[in-house]
Amino acid sequence: MFKVLYKKELAENITLMNIEAPRVARSAKPGQFVIVRVGDEGERIPLTIADYSVDEGWVQIVIQSLGASTRKIVALEEGDSLTDFAGPLGNPSDFVKEPMEEVRARKMLFIAGGVGAAPVYPQVKWLREQGVEVDVIIGAKRKDMLIFAEQMEAVASDLYIATDDGSAGFHGLVTDLMKDLIDNQGKKYDQVVAIGPMIMMKFVALTTKPYGIKTIVSLNSIMVDGTGMCGACRVTVAGRTRFACVEGPEFDGHEVDFDEAMRRQGMYKSQEARAAAIAAEREAGHKCRIGLDK
């Protein structure tokens, strides 16, 4: 069970894997996630589903290996097995259940930041299969950190690239590119779906607000069980506490309290590491933009 059928390194510290999980593949829908565990003492790690094949019985995940637990996952080779692979969890994206003629009439823009391109892909692909044309922006730090660009090209109506250093596509942030598309290139959007780092989703939501464009974000909160039992993933949406695992992971970006969500993501970073990071930032005279000093 849960055998690694295929493994590929997409970029530095970003690995793609197809996992044998026929039941999960049969039930998976765009927008959902899985919980993965490696080893007897392994942590339960939520990961968004990147693709799935009902016929071949696999589910694809993309792992950014920055911590000890994610490194354990990417250390597995083809033929090895994950200890656990539970899902699909969370709710499918709203459009899966909406009347298709309404979805087709909608002008949608997907914004993927970093590994966020992985969970955006199955949504765009699913929509394409239903005959819905959507635009996509993929943002990355550098050209060599871009993932899923080729696959996305095949399913997106228009694909735009933004890199922080200008090594590919638009030189700048995804929010600047989105503004450029709307303000200068005559693009009109009724809905934006942003998936990526919390800070990017926050600024996408802030940017779309004055335009009145409905904005959906997918929250990668801390979770233990992923089924509503622990409440670690609590997030404030429209002033109410919601559980990202069972009520999300997708929410209205204009209603999410991102500052709280970012602070809660840091809950289990060790006290020392946090203190050290803040001290280093202050010393460098840098105003922390990702909420570490909160």
Binding site: R23, V24, E41, A86, T227, M229, C230, G231, G266
Partner: protein
Amino acid sequence: MVNKIPRVPVREQDPIIRATNFEEVCYGYNREEALLEASRCLNCKNPRCVAACPVNIKIPDFIKALQEEGEAAAAAVIAEDSSLPSICGRVCPQENQCEGACVLGIKGEAVAIGKLERYVGDWALDNVEGEEVVLSPDAPKVAVVGSGPAGLACAADLAKMGYRVTIFEALHKFGGVLSYGIPEFRLPKDRIVAREVEKVRRLGVEMERDTIVGRTVDIDTLMDTEGYEAVFIGSGAGLPRFMNIPGENLNGVVSANEFLTRANLMKAYDEASDTPIFVGERVVVVGGGNVAMDAVRTAKRLGAESVIVYRRSQAELPARREEVHNAIEEGIEFQMLTNPVEVLGDERGWVRGLRCVRMELGEPDESGRRSPVEVAGSEFDVECQTVIMALGTSPNPLIVSTTEGLESNRRGCLVATEEGATTREGVFAGGDAVTGAATVILAMGAGRKAAAAIDKYIRSKE
């Protein structure tokens, strides 16, 4: 004459030492102690203890069997009514059930029925070979959702009747609340829970972990596509409640479910575990039930000064008496008649304290307990870095929301008959999923009743 023997005390780990480890608190009786304690039973003609047991274990009979024929005979008597004696002997609130009704308790001390049950149950785990059941490959299939006490008991009975049973568990370990909820120091995982699960597996029951019914697969698929003729839902009551007071989403406020799952299921107290857990120097646990006691004693073992905050007085604590007693021995501070009104945070959004008010007891409410009333102007702050909310749990709505024709009540509990039949044909339920958070023994009893009802249902179809 027998009455003159005082209740045989049970050996326990020293409180100061045990408050720093996760080893089991209570060592239980040895043979000699068990036989001496057994000799105290009056073998009443009208045994009030049996009537007070939620599953009516024939208590005087098993105690007599222990004295006259030995452990195997005693285990056989218990097995007629209970499939989890090692567990129930440890976690049942005996003082409100069998022991609370014991005649000896009127003037002196009740027979230690729980400790005797545990002794017999542990002996059976060590010495009784699991029954070998040969299942016919075309026996009818039954799906059991959840591997907690209700699911295990239901699956075991059905397997013994010859059904092919598959248990679907959402988590990566079997046992439900026995694995994720009740701590190691009260219910050892490898020595007791894992072996009870193995016992059920040896009966030929298939077990699939990481399978969330309602997500990975739904009830309709199980029945229509995968050929299960009946389904038993024993999915428990796993959703945590919060107080909805200001500051509850600060870093450092967790549900008891999260805290205990990290500690028990993920073994976060062990350095080898990859799962983190945070306590800080001082922890406040809000609540007075068994889960609150489990959380506060776990926090203590992780090195924090640990406090219980409860809105009623000690007499109303819903926790087992033994747990409260053990907690006090271990140095847990109890702030009774105290209710939180706000979690206080520091400038970085981490918990720095809990603002509380004093309460006083007013008129009895519908449960007969005197309801607490706020004392005006009594606000005070308790310093802490972690607040654990142990306010009770309710059933997970996932299965109801994904299954046509399955009804739940206002509290989210599945609607089911005494025998466990739900509003949907072929679907049965029992345990906390039906009653809301209750006890292991009630769940076990409900699982067994449902097994009988499922058998009857499947036979009636043929």
